[in-house]
Subunit: 355 residues, 2 copies
């Protein structure tokens, strides 16, 4: 015997590389290329640091109210956490608590199986179809919960709320989580379904469309009952997850809707331009409604392109996994960054043709 | 059947009240009465908010290095989380993973049983002796892990490292956590034992002695092996728990050792003065090495004093629980605050004698 026998042994999630060098083009973790709303800086500059000696508001009331107002919900329908990963980790712990398998696609956010393993939750992964679409009939069998990213990652494929409504109608016995980390780039949110399905939890984040990955804010929206259960577990884990500065910075971001609309529109426009250029270079990709494109070249292997890009200080994401090994996930950067990447790819591919 | 059947149902921890009114004397959550090191404000004022669009360093390298240096450890021996509650919650999940009961005293930090319940970890609570001391022989039986607060809360009683060494010697088969949230007010830390016991985890926090409860920083120190297991679980939960601003603010605090020494000495002096005054007013209390005093009056019930204080905008903590219902936990505030509280108690108790 040894103390090591009692350890929970897990294989952790591996996030995209965070190169410490400056002057790289970093398109590997779907960060926003633009700064947060200017009012966020105002919060840091004006923050009364003497108040840091006190615990923050454990109920995160101010930020929950701002989010509720923005989404046309009641404050009791909003839960806030340390990024959507924290919100999802708490949700798995709270809602997926049966012997039946939780369902999520074979190709999706690769944290879902890590959380399931962490909590020893059984799960099944119905395969996406050949176009990377979710087959909804796969989610109409007995289960201990469902989690679906919409748009899905790393594919970028987005479904309409009516699609999820069909799944919800068939699953009144389990909690259905729709992870909308990328919904603000042209998708249609499932939030309006909340009033009709008390077992629906919609998760969003400040890390992508609000340029605040560094601040760690995510949130969940659902029926008051669902949020109450989630809160009970959160308050059994850590009373104060959101620090005082983060709460105020989050409010500042939510209150500047104009800025939010402007930068999401800009990223969406850059994405549409990038799609055209990639198609012209013989890339194929599912139609993306996110701030990234999941693209495979018709002749050149993804690993080769990944290495060539990386050698030129351009970071994208590649998974050496079944079904997706041919693809690169390229985050949408500024127009200038995308121009550099596309020009590089154009030259590289032309060079190959000659060779 | 309903989705509610699959929910994890828990009774959450209840933190001390956070009155929103200004001008109250708040001595109920052991916060520090002084502001954080001035360099913390410098971090907020100078922070480059454009960088918030990027994820923070998931390894929290800079802060772990600062802490390692301060405690004479290697960076790989330090783990950082969102307050010591986050660190302890992760530690319970990581290390207390057997069928045997985890051991902690009947009177101690009331989050321990909440975490055990959350993860369905069996536990036993050997009673403290009549002087609120831990009986070390109670921790020399088979167990799935041990967690001991030193100094203990809410009693304030502190034991020497040699006391924990005896427990460690008898428990090479389980992880022993020493929760040192209050160690900086006169106790002697178990950190030097880390090099000899690879199953010892020592947890500390920025919330008390570093005046940063509002910033949410806690940390654990232990053998590299122990920290690696803890990291694996953390990276299976949330890759990025510490936001970019918090990391830099934490470093700024750690680097100002002079300020830290000055305010902890000041609080310790105020506590010693408070002890004398309380004793003169016929309070009894175990000798505290923390930033609070756990005091019972020899004639007047704690609930009555609690209510009288509260009616006068003075908040202290009271638990209506077996063995401790006679006690008030009074955090140490500024000299002025303590003077006000002590004067109030003096008058109140004199009024009763006459009455």
């Amino acid at each position: 015997m040894s103390w090591e026998n009692n350890i929970r042994r897990v294989v952790p999630y591996v996030a995209g590389e965070q190169p410490q060098k400056q002057n790289v083009i970093k398109l590997n973790t779907n960060e926003c290329p633009y700064p947060p709303a200017p009012e966020v800086e105002g919060v840091l500059r004006g923050f009364d640091c003497d108040t840091l000696r006190k615990y923050p508001d454990p109920d995160v009331q101010e930020l929950r109210e701002a989010l509720a107002k923005r989404h046309g919900l009641d404050c009791g329908q909003v839960f806030v956490g340390v990024g959507s990963d924290d919100v999802l980790a708490m949700s798995f712990l709270t809602f997926f608590n049966s012997e039946k398998p939780v369902l999520f696609p074979d190709i999706t956010y690769s944290f879902y199986d890590v959380w399931a393993d962490l909590y020893k939750i059984p799960y099944e992964c119905p395969p996406l179809d050949e176009n990377f679409r979710i087959r909804k009939e796969d989610y109409m069998k007995e289960n201990g919960g469902i989690v679906l990213a919409n748009p899905n990652a790393p594919t970028g494929v987005c479904e309409a709320p009516s699609f999820f409504e069909e799944i919800l109608r068939a699953n009144s016995d389990s909690v259905v989580i729709v992870d909308e980390a990328y919904i603000d780039f042209g998708g249609e949110s499932c939030v309006p379904l909340i009033e009709r399905y008390e077992n629906l939890l919609v998760v969003q984040t400040f890390s992508k469309s609000r340029s605040m990955a560094g601040m760690r804010i995510g949130y969940a929206m659902g029926s008051k009952k669902l949020i109450r259960f989630l809160n009970d577990v959160k308050f059994s884990f850590n009373s104060y997850t959101m620090n005082a500065v983060t709460i105020k910075a989050g409010v500042a971001s939510v209150e500047n809707e104009d800025y939010f609309k402007r930068i999401t529109a800009k990223i969406t426009a850059t994405r549409e331009y990038t799609k055209k250029r990639l198609a012209a270079l013989d890339f194929v990709f599912p139609d993306s409604k996110t701030n990234f494109i999941f693209a495979a070249h018709q002749r050149v292997p993804a690993q080769e392109l990944f290495d060539a890009l990386r050698a030129n200080e351009i970071y994208v994401r590649h998974w050496n996994k079944p079904r997706i090994a041919d693809y690169l996930r390229i985050s949408i950067g500024t127009d200038e960054e995308m121009e550099t990447v596309l020009d590089f790819l154009e030259k590289y591919l032309k060079g190959k043709q000659k060779g």
